[in-house]
Symmetry: C2
Subunit: 198 residues, 2 copies
């Protein structure tokens, strides 16, 4: 039976370990496509066009907005960031699941356009643990860490309307949960009944 | 984190291999409870009360109907069959998932009472394969097999409103899909957000 690609959004607060979990999820999985965002900000040292971002200019970005070519987009400190429909649709047409690493507001935009999108929120096992992880990174001041914690609590409250909430206690367990969710979502009747009814 | 028990209904047409799949699902899983039905029919040779069925008399069954003590029940060739709430609720209170092997009409009754119940339909990989399996059992006449096939098609049509549709192509794959579904359903925000918001 041919697998039909689906779109999954994965959100999670700063410090929760989302990048590590995503890297582990993609290991040995050639049926997954990681969505690369488009941005108008300049490439930083070492960033590769098409891998880290699709780097485009503001004129092109605005043109794409006008053509409804984004699943979601936002402006952030003077630059645009967005998820082009094109690559996601190409991946799904090839039977891959498209994984979008975007935050809650972007997720809401995607689901408004495509309600069938599956939303997964990655949460810490506790607030104490999230604080510990943010502190261990050593990149933020204590004030910044408190801001991030507060924001994480607001985000988790919004995640009530997500389809799934994965707890990143250990990476292995979080990845197993993600894999179970992806697999389960491919067992939906809409995808399968029509193939069997013939 | 303490697991909270959920109820899963597993339905499927005659000949699809549901018993084999369920036996494999329950192997080494002490977190699952298999719901035993109550019936007013007499025990057959070798049947054990409380294991094959809870054998009760018609007066007791009617009393239980009056007390709304069944998740679902039906009359079939002069006997009553039903799923007592009691054992399912006890299992869930102990953190077990309750697995109910019931058909589509019973499933509709359960979901009317408890909309959070997850419904899984087990389907054959094709009609030809279902016919082959029914023939291989050697228990039905060709006419009876055609009746069962027709009924299976009607049931699959109803299964469009189920939450999941698992294809029993191989038992191993079907069990893996079931396990993924059970695991994924325990990642729902309703179950988890409240534990984290404190």
């Amino acid at each position: 039976m041919k697998k039909i690609g689906k779109t999954f959004i994965i959100s999670g607060p700063s410090g929760v370990g989302k990048s590590t979990v995503l890297a582990a999820l993609f290991k040995d999985r050639e049926d997954l496509y990681f969505s690369v965002s488009a941005t108008t900000r300049a490439p930083r040292e070492g960033e590769i066009d098409g891998k880290d971002y699709h780097f485009i200019d503001a004129g092109e970005f605005r043109k794409m907005i006008g053509e409804d070519a984004f699943l979601e987009y936002a402006e952030y400190v003077g630059n645009f960031y967005g998820t082009p429909k094109k690559y996601v649709d190409e991946a799904m047409a090839n039977g891959l699941d498209a994984i979008l690493d975007i935050e809650i507001q972007g997720a809401a935009q995607v689901c408004a356009k495509r309600p069938e999108t599956v939303r997964i929120f990655i949460a810490p096992p506790s607030w104490e643990e999230l604080e510990r992880r943010l502190t261990a990174r050593g990149t933020d001041s204590p004030e910044k860490i408190q801001q991030r914690l507060l924001r994480a609590k607001v985000e988790l409250d919004s995640a009530r309307c997500y389809d799934y909430l994965v707890i990143n206690d250990t990476v292995d367990e979080a990845v197993e949960e993600l894999r179970a969710i992806l697999r389960a979502e491919h067992c939906r009747p809409a995808e399968r009944v029509s193939q069997l009814m013939d």
